[in-house]
Symmetry: C2
Subunit: 409 residues, 2 copies
């Protein structure tokens, strides 16, 4: 019984993600690109901003015209004209001259800097005094200072956030090549599972898993497709698994805390073409009875029926596979793990990674992680949780005050 599972370490499971290929790409309008993953390096077709512009209201000058200027010895400059944003100045500015300019406007020929209006005084219609010298390039953005033409402005695999959309808009990109969203089929199994809208007979439970896992898939950037509840029957399960594989990039089958359902999943996998079981049990808790198979080029997961275990397994090992399929190369999420300190001692078992649910609390001396009490199977503990703390394989527990990384939930 104890040796039924030849368990795999979670890091080894995650490493297997690289054996699968990212999904195909598609070209979509820029206003739908937010939240997607860039498919190809974006080489800038032009310089940005494309012309040298003022970053302050003031006077455009050749910087050398102001050298040595001070409160006591201002530079006297002759006004050669005026430029506002959107204009193309129809004149040039010589040494000893200046042009009125507003923020964002194009610098006239002959100028390379802007004196802030606060550092000037108007003497008459054609003359000003400048009280401060400026260096070449001061208070201006050069024509290619933001992005240079023919240079990669964004690299493939980048998450497209609002600012990446903004950059693409600035460069006139109306359509962008992104990875498709990985389609993830979700199947619930078990004779004891009842659809949420149905009356609940005694002893049965509702199909919590499909709803919950769909949310996790969405958060990871995938597209969930729920295929409903399948009873513990070989032929029915085989049929729905075939359907799932034909229409998606990854399959999640969950249910069967019982050994029987797990066995059935393995039998179905054996009957599918070009399929091999890669992992049968993972050294995580909760979430140990997780199965990973390769079905063609698709990861096929058998997740625990217990929803809290399935959530932890998803967070610990499934999400990196969604990242891989989605084409994501930099994992910002990793950088964004929070550091906190434990409010209490936490026991743990060596030889497996224990995932402890925590609630975050901001105190004057920093962030604290409060382990949530309650049995592992209670969904209410996941609702109370802000995140998970992983207690390493070789650790026997952690003490109050120990620093920990928190994975957001």
């Amino acid at each position: 019984m104890k040796n039924f599972f030849q368990v795999t370490a979670p890091d080894d499971v995650i490493a297997m993600a690289n054996d699968f290929s990212p999904v195909k790409m598609e070209k979509i309008p820029l206003n739908q690109a937010h939240g997607r993953v860039l498919g190809m390096d974006f080489i800038s077709p032009e310089d940005l901003p494309g012309f040298t512009r003022a970053t302050m209201d003031g006077y455009a000058v050749k910087a050398s015209s102001t050298f040595g200027a001070s409160e006591s010895g201002p530079a006297f400059l002759t006004i050669a004209g005026s430029v506002t944003m959107g204009d193309v100045p129809g004149f040039s500015v010589g040494p000893g001259q200046a042009a009125r300019i507003s923020t964002g406007a194009m610098l006239p020929d002959g100028t390379d800097a802007v004196v802030m209006i606060e550092h000037t005084q108007v003497l008459d219609d054609t003359t000003i005094e400048a009280y401060k010298s400026v260096a070449p390039g001061q208070h201006v953005i050069l024509s290619n200072e933001d992005i240079a033409r023919d240079q990669p402005a964004l690299t493939a695999g980048t998450d497209i956030r609002s600012q990446e959309v903004g950059l693409l808009a600035a460069l006139g990109c109306e359509a962008v090549t992104v990875f498709k969203k990985p389609v993830v089929s979700i199947i619930s199994t078990g004779d004891e599972i009842v659809a949420v809208g149905q009356p609940l007979p005694p002893g049965k439970i509702r199909d919590v898993n499909a709803y919950t896992l769909a949310g996790f898939v969405t958060d990871a950037g995938g597209e969930p497709v729920c295929l409903g509840i399948v009873e513990d029957d070989f032929d029915k399960m085989l049929a729905v698994c075939r359907q799932a594989l034909s229409q998606s990039d990854m399959v999640l089958i969950s249910g069967g805390s019982s050994m029987g359902t797990r066995d059935l999943t393995v039998q179905v996998l054996a009957a599918l073409p070009d399929t091999e079981v890669l992992v049968h049990g993972i050294s995580i808790s909760p979430g140990k009875p997780t199965i990973l198979a390769r079905a063609g080029n698709q990861p096929f997961w058998g997740l625990p029926g217990q929803i809290t275990s399935a959530m932890v397994a998803f967070t610990a090992v499934v999400r990196p596979f969604v990242d891989r399929l989605a084409g994501r190369t930099r994992h910002r999420r990793e950088a964004f793990r929070l550091s906190a300190r434990l409010t209490r001692n936490v026991a743990s078992v060596q030889g497996r990674v224990d995932y402890v649910r925590v609630r975050l609390e901001k105190r004057d001396d920093g962030l604290w992680a409060e382990p949530i009490l309650g049995k592992s199977g209670l969904i209410s503990t996941m609702v109370k949780a802000d995140g998970l703390v992983a207690i390493g394989m070789h650790v026997e527990g952690m003490e109050k005050g120990d620093p920990v990384d928190v994975i957001a939930l």
Copy 2:
């Protein structure tokens, strides 16, 4: 010039959010609730799990039948029957008896604990030995241990994540009352702004702001509606502002780094009914020339035309207003600010909050925030940034190694 703005501190601006009311509610299907905000306390209509269930495979017993059991002196128990998941046991279990039970199955009458199968040995068809005693409630989840009937399972204003969806599914909730998504109208102004798909004449810039702000609104849980580009013309701006106010819950008008456009915005606000300017300039950098008005019950923002300034202003002061309109009560985002240490000294100006763009770097000794070089107006600096560090009003700068909070971008 210097006193044109009577600037307001950002905390005072944020406090004004409470003067606005959350948007109306709507009832939506549970499978669309992920990412929304719960509108009303959800009182549980039933106990969860609804029956006392086993959390392990093993034998259901009355705990007292095992008291004193050990390896050397096992308890002998008579098998009274067997229960699997989904079954209603048709028998009861007396003292000295046990029922085979699988994980998730309902405990028979007369039992209050489960002995794990690992701690038992089968002697014959009707008798087992138990080597370990169990306490009442051990390896079971009580009928109402997850959620009790008539108790609030979730409170109004909660962000509905995957696990909240799961909890609602578990309780048979097919439709849920949520706050509507606040509709946020986005208007770009300025004669120098050109639509992204149009040819770009010299000196003009593309409409970066609408695309970028739409992303920020979406991330904050709002629904962006882009009303396009309006030139610097009083009548046209008045017309589009009226339209915006009639169809949304908040208005963002951006553009006009120039004083002229800002003046125009203020004139338009003066011409709108029941409207007052609350804030004319905020002590943040970048983002200082931000205007906030109340138009009826709607916040109306004039954001800087410079997109990087607009992004900072949105993050610093606009987002809390979206939270307020969206009905959000707990700000998980606040708890999730990262602690990092600065990789370099950063200068700052007293009397305003400086927002520094940083890239995060995970090192062996923790998270480090690397300030991003480059002029404030470069959109590429926002693309390189993982987050913002706010350098407080009364601080003159921070030193390398100083701990800072990072706001995710």
